[in-house]
Subunit: 281 residues, 2 copies
DNA sequence: CTGCCCTCATACCGGCGAGGTATCGGGGCG
DNA sequence: CGCCCCGATACCTCGCCGGTATGAGGGCAG
């Protein structure tokens, strides 16, 4: 099976529509139809059922979509990491990705400590939106990542736990609820005039709901100050807060575990050193 | 990057010789040379240095070999699991792989317990030589595996620990050393008339050394009975031993952890059920 | 019931590129 | 110095990928 076939298949599966997939791939519909049919013949399996309003996946197709995405990410990772090897020729370097606006204190400590190591290498820090770190690690855009359980999917990675912490509710300083000693998640989500913001999915779309669409943390903290929303964050985020905000501990929120994660077959000395440094913090 | 190019590259890297790789791939040497050159151009990286006695990998080439093998295994896994989905249409089934001759008692308990579950499915058991289980899981020939730490590489898999046990030395019943209460690994490996057997590598070759080449467990136990060799095994192996053998605990051997492992993105109900059953043993 | 539309499949054609054969260049080694 | 081994280059052929034109079949409206 060639990666070209796999890319075609994934496009059709995601669009549920051969014509749209062809447009997305920048090609005509007939060759795409033929490529899919040929793939089905070679695999000896129907991947789609053709309907009058498009196509839908069979169970074999669902398997191939799930496994194929992993395989494509692995091929992309191989390609990207090879390119990076030659770019980084001589001076080794490492790409570290983390959620924008999160764990900045931890990151600063980590980078400082690593820079002081004898085997330190350049660290390129890529801050990206929530949920993008794990995919970047999978397809080779990053070599190491700071992830947060239970939100990020770390399956397939090696990880070291760094911090386990409770979550707190951030809300406007003057708000009646800010006087509370503590709160449950149920109470926090049902404060009538403070709808929690909506986080974007990985594809950029937003779930439905009353809260504002969250794009960037400082912007949302501004909205909290203005009394328009509230926010659930790990308690370490308190350190970065400015005036106008109150903090109430949540008693039953799941604990957040911050981990450092890397691809299991990584052999980069930079990654190894960074992980070792992180474990000592 | 296409999987065809990757396969070509891996073949050349493994042979360190374009002509031999071409023969292995069933093609002529010039198109292979050209394909590699084209891959290098597209990646913008030299993958090999050409020498008069063949080729050797550059550091970029080493990266691509390491990552490319993972990627190829992922593509093969996608293909194989898709084929298996259609073969297994209707009655779900699971392929479980384990080391031949090991953990038979555990396996029997697991399979019996799972068969009694309400959501039981067919389990095809594939017994294979030591070290072959993890690769089979990686490239889709198996859905679940019984692995043994620290020998097997479980990176990239989800695992549940099943048993942790010490190792023992198995030796002929009449041998002077069989009277010992316990022994260290150093002592065990230096019994002059009992060289430990050599285990094959994954590629089928054997390391150098004085001991017999180990192929299958019962055969080697026969050799132990005949006073030709001794054997280090997890203590659970005592259960399957017959007469003529003595057992001496090893005090400083690493503990062996038996785990059940599966690919992280597995969604098979059979795998899930098997893992759940194993966790309850 | 009929005709239109939407969507995927089939038919046919042209060009790129993968693979084959023949041959060259260049570095060890006798 | 000449031979041999190994990879690179030159050149050709043909398979297959992608494009355009058109067919087939199932909903849905009038």
């Amino acid at each position: 099976m060639e990666t070209r076939e796999l890319r075609y298949f994934v496009a059709v599966a995601e669009e549920s529509h051969v014509g749209r997939a062809a447009r997305r791939l920048g090609m005509a519909q007939p060759p795409l139809s033929r490529a899919i049919a040929q793939l089905e013949r070679r695999l000896g399996a129907d991947l789609f059922v053709r309907g009058p309003r498009g196509v839908t996946l069979t169970s074999a197709g669902e398997t191939l979509l799930r496994e194929g995405r992993v395989a494509l990410a692995a091929v992309e990772a191989a390609e990207r990491r090879t390119r990076r090897t030659v770019e980084a020729a001589g001076r080794a370097s490492v790409v570290l990705t983390a959620k924008a606006g999160a764990s900045s204190e931890l990151m600063a400590k980590l980078l400082d400590a690593f820079a002081a190591e004898p085997d330190a290498v350049d660290v390129e820090v890529v801050l990206s939106p929530p949920g993008h770190q794990a995919p970047m690690l999978r397809d080779g855009r990053a070599d190491v990542a700071i992830l947060h359980l239970p939100f990020d999917d770390v399956s397939g990675f090696d990880v070291d736990r760094l911090v386990v912490e409770d979550q707190v509710l951030i809300l406007p300083a003057g708000h009646p609820a800010s006087a509370r000693e503590s709160m449950t998640v149920g109470e926090a989500t049902s404060i009538p005039d403070l709808p929690l913001p909506r986080w974007p999915h990985v594809d950029g779309s937003y779930p439905d709901g009353p809260g504002p669409e969250l794009r960037d943390l400082t912007q949302v903290l501004q909205l909290v100050r203005l009394g328009r929303t509230a926010l659930v964050l790990p308690e370490s985020a308190r350190a970065g807060l400015r005036d106008g905000l109150a903090v109430v501990p949540l008693t039953d929120a799941p604990q957040v575990t911050t981990v450092i994660a890397w691809p299991p077959h990584s052999t980069s000395t930079g990654v190894a050193g960074l992980v070792r440094t992180a474990a000592r913090l």
